[in-house]
């Protein structure tokens, strides 16, 4: 009776299972990369524009994940820094006449970092739900400023921006397909930056701070200084996302930095269960549910997103049940 259940062999299993799992992941990554590259050549313009939106949200989701999943600071306001970056890029393009996308990207990231550094002393006094609410308040304040300060931001009418160029002297990227490939390239650059960041001592200390701040302080670490550095990094990343948003749409209005933007980024981070890869996948999923499935379901995208939120919340229970069910079938 006790022997009928197939148990995994105890010692041998992990040894040869690990590399197979690793190579499968590499294969999956390559496949996703190829599909992303091939997209503008096989899909219609609408799908490509949705994919552009997904890339912007993926950058914002990585920024949110750095705070939420790694440093243990649940943020519902990363759209504020996205907005600062986006308006910086847009003003650079319209008023400053700088059409180079990469310059816009760098300056927008710097602006996001500065905005994060200015607001951090206020936000880092709080933790948990209070941090969530404080970050939400900062985002709403930023959106209000963007709407009211119409001499600079164009108010609710928004700003139209010219297409970006990649290199001085090259023609601007007018077609959706090229703009999408430009976004994909920028996204890969940011992914590499994030990957380097994830291996840094800073991120190790951020993870530790999320687990036990008092222990970290007792080891001699200045906890708030590390959280500040992490917060500024997240702000820079969100600011870079803002530059991509402007490049993707050629248009920017206060609506782009509303609550739903922050909330979708937080949802994507939550779907990602604390990992960066998961946050990117979550962002793609969220945009796909909202924009691709929203039309055939008669505009019930918010309901679908709500459903996605519930699935994430019940994910442990669901996997648990599935595992029990699988085991009972094997028996």
């Amino acid at each position: 009776m006790t022997t009928t259940r197939p148990q995994t062999t105890p010692a041998a299993a992990p040894v040869h299972r690990y590399p197979r799992w690793r190579s499968r992941q590499l294969l999956l990554g390559a496949a996703v990369m190829l599909a992303a590259l091939a997209l503008p050549f096989v899909a219609d313009a609408y799908t490509v524009s949705i994919a552009s939106t997904a890339i912007v949200l993926a950058v914002l989701a990585m920024s949110t994940q750095l705070l939420t999943g790694i440093a243990g600071l649940p943020s519902l306001g990363q759209a504020a820094y996205l907005g600062v970056g986006a308006y910086t890029a847009a003003l650079l393009a319209t008023v400053g006449g700088v059409s180079n996308g990469l310059v816009q990207l760098a300056v927008a990231a710097a602006a996001g970092a500065v905005a994060a550094a200015v607001t951090a002393p206020l936000l880092l006094r709080t933790r948990g739900v209070l941090f969530l609410m404080a970050s939400f308040a900062v985002a709403e304040l930023t959106r209000t400023i963007a709407a009211q300060w119409s001499s600079v931001t164009g108010g609710d009418d928004g700003l139209h921006t010219p297409p970006v160029t990649v290199w001085p002297g090259t023609p601007p990227l007018r077609s959706d397909g090229y703009a999408y490939l430009y976004l994909l390239g920028c996204f890969l650059i940011l992914v590499v930056v994030v990957a380097v960041l994830l291996r840094s001592r800073l991120v190790l200390a951020l993870r530790a701070a999320a687990d036990h701040e008092a222990r970290l302080a007792a080891l001699g670490y200045h906890v708030n200084r590390h959280l500040f550095a992490g917060f500024v990094c997240a702000g820079a990343l969100a600011g870079a996302g803002g530059a991509l948003l402007v490049a993707a749409h050629g248009y920017l209005s206060p609506a782009d930095l509303g609550l739903d933007m922050s909330a979708m980024a937080l949802l994507a981070a939550a779907i990602g269960l604390g990992t960066m890869r998961g946050a990117v996948a979550g962002a793609v999923l969220v945009v796909a549910v909202r924009d691709l499935l929203g039309t055939p379901t008669g505009g019930h995208a918010p309901a679908l997103l709500g459903l996605a939120f519930l699935v994430v919340a019940y994910q442990p229970a669901i996997t648990d049940r599935l595992a029990t069910w699988k085991r009972s079938r094997q028996r």
Binding site: R201, L202, L204, R207, A218, G220, H222
Partner: protein, 562 residues
């Protein structure tokens, strides 16, 4: 103001490592620690003892910088650190452990140590540094015996290993002053032996100040001892002086002077496997029919079973103690019976002749099984009175066959049994001392009108006097015919309560014996072997078994890391 200079300071006044000058701390209206002065020379081994709620942890937190003192100054190695934050005190050479093991739960073991040993840890974020640093971490991992776990998240380690990791983290900082808050709590006798050896072998360049209730550890390690009581300084001196002090005996070692309490308190203090001469506190009637029947129990967390083929009967009115080392599966067994832990086939659980529902803890609770969990699990937001009302209300209207048999538990009857709670009724439960919280957890369980009371490590982290009170209360319950299933590291408490002991070893039942048989040599030696205390006392075992290990750890912590 009390002034207490340790006797050792006369010789080494010039190399004072820690000096407290009139240090006190108030929380609102409550003075947790009255003005205290203390001087520890470099290399001292000083212990802080006292009943639960005496202000010991407060004092450690004041020295470590987690709290700031209301009055007084703290001087560490010649520098006034009174106003420094915890991180700067850490850099000044203060290392500490916390009362509950403070490790970074989600990070792998190696990363925990890497953070602790980070060269120039602090302000400039940069890449995780080079190979010589990785070597140092690997060396410490090897020395603490955690190499196999280096990729395991620290939160998945057993309690004993988490304590080990935390101590290794503190040592990796190479502290000059090491503060330890109850390092032996939750460890089994063999692990306490290892801890004693490890601390004994630390070099003289580390000064140790430790708080603990395990008196064997204190007497064998400490050169000087300070006793606190209700935030007041009671005595400071050598272990012999302190043991002889009548005030200390009254406050800590055996308050009340009740003969039974005395026997338990002093015997308990030795928490060794010495079951000789233990007297049963409760004269017993013969147990009734089988109340709980466990057959072929198999349970675990991630596939691999923690328990396998465990058979157990608990009769009505019988007290059974579950013994075993940490990680043997004691808590899993108790949680399974209480319905908190899913079981795997082919487990059969029967209660009073019927199948016992699992994974729905409210059903066993209604059927008459009450659990006093490890670590008490007090509702932090509620007052003592609210706890009691809540427990009583949950059971109103439920089917309680015990009421027919015995008198039902009411708040008044519970307060009669546990008078310490009566004075604390309006207080928030998280303000209670550890002993009072344990009493509250017991009261909460009794008010659900149980026929079987399950206790998981009831004496953990409690002062000897409180353990004596608790043991007496529990013995009274057993004598009144309540069935009890108790897991306990403290063998003296276990044998004082139980009719029968079962010993778990790596998920299987390794031994079953009537408690009275432990007076005989054969069963006692078998038990001691299973618990990892192969000598007559824990200290003797400690000297032999893990000495190499400990020496390695201290060596590596001191040499390998920089």
């Amino acid at each position: 103001m009390t002034t207490a200079m340790t006797t050792a300071t006369t010789a080494a006044k010039t190399t004072s490592m820690l000096r407290l000058d009139g240090v006190s701390r108030r929380f609102g209206g409550l003075t947790a620690l009255h003005e205290l002065s203390l001087d520890l020379p470099a290399g001292a081994r000083h212990a802080l003892i006292g009943p639960n709620g005496a202000g010991k942890s407060t004092l450690l937190n004041l020295i470590a910088g987690t709290l700031t003192p209301t009055t007084g100054t703290i001087i560490v190695d010649g520098r006034d650190v009174t106003r420094l934050p915890a991180r700067l005190r850490a850099r000044h050479g203060i290392g500490r452990s916390f009362q509950h093991p403070a490790v970074f739960q989600r990070l792998p073991v190696a990363a925990n140590l890497a953070l602790a040993a980070m060269p120039g840890r602090g302000d400039i974020p940069g890449p995780i540094s080079g190979p010589q640093h990785a070597d140092g971490v690997a060396q410490v991992l090897d020395a603490v015996g955690l190499t196999d776990y280096n990729r395991t998240p620290a939160g998945q380690l057993s309690y004993g290993l988490q304590r080990r990791l935390e101590l290794a983290m503190a040592l990796a900082q190479r502290p000059r002053l090491l503060l330890l808050d109850e390092p032996s709590a939750g460890l089994d006798p063999a692990q306490i032996g290892q801890l004693t050896t490890l601390l004994t072998n630390l070099g003289a360049d580390t000064t140790i100040l430790l708080v603990d209730h395990h008196l064997d550890l204190i007497w064998s390690l400490a050169q000087t001892v300070t006793v606190l009581h209700h935030g007041h300084h009671l005595a400071t001196g050598t272990p012999d002086q302190v043991r002889a002090d009548p005030a200390v005996r009254d406050a800590y070692l055996n308050p009340g002077g009740h003969p039974n309490a005395t026997a338990t308190a002093t015997a308990t203090a030795n928490a060794t496997a010495n079951a000789n001469g233990t007297e049963r506190l409760a004269p017993r009637t013969s147990p009734g029919p089988v109340l709980l029947r466990v057959r072929q129990l198999r349970a675990g967390y991630h596939g691999a079973p923690v328990l396998d083929k465990v058979d157990l009967d608990v009769h009505d009115g019988e007290a059974v103690a579950v013994l075993g080392r940490n990680g043997a599966g004691k808590t899993t067994l108790l949680n399974t019976v209480a319905g908190l832990q899913p079981v795997q086939t082919p487990t059969r659980l029967e209660w009073d002749g019927r199948a016992l529902p699992t994974r729905r803890p409210h059903l066993p609770a209604r059927a008459g099984i009450a659990l006093v969990p490890q670590g008490r699990r007090i509702f932090t937001g509620l007052t003592v009175r609210e706890h009691l009302v809540c427990a009583l209300a949950a059971h109103r209207g439920a089917d309680t066959p015990s009421q027919a048999r015995t008198q039902a538990w009411t708040v008044d009857r519970v307060l009669d049994l546990l008078p310490a709670l009566a004075a604390r009724l309006p207080h928030p439960a998280q303000r209670l001392s550890g002993g009072e919280q344990q009493m509250l957890a017991l009261a909460r369980a009794l008010l659900t009108q149980p026929r079987l009371l399950i206790l998981d490590e009831p004496s953990e982290g409690l002062a000897p006097a409180v353990i004596a009170q608790l043991t007496q209360a529990l013995s009274g319950l057993v004598a009144d015919g309540l069935a009890v299933l108790v897991a306990e590291q403290n063998l003296t408490v276990a044998t004082a309560l139980a009719d029968r002991i079962i010993v778990l070893d790596r998920g299987h039942i390794a031994m079953t014996a009537p408690a009275r048989d432990l007076d005989q040599d054969g069963p006692r030696q078998h038990l001691q072997a299973l618990l990892g205390v192969s000598g007559p006392t824990a200290t003797a075992a400690a000297d032999r078994v893990p000495a190499d290990d400990a020496a390695q750890l201290t060596g590596a912590a001191e040499s390998g890391l920089r």
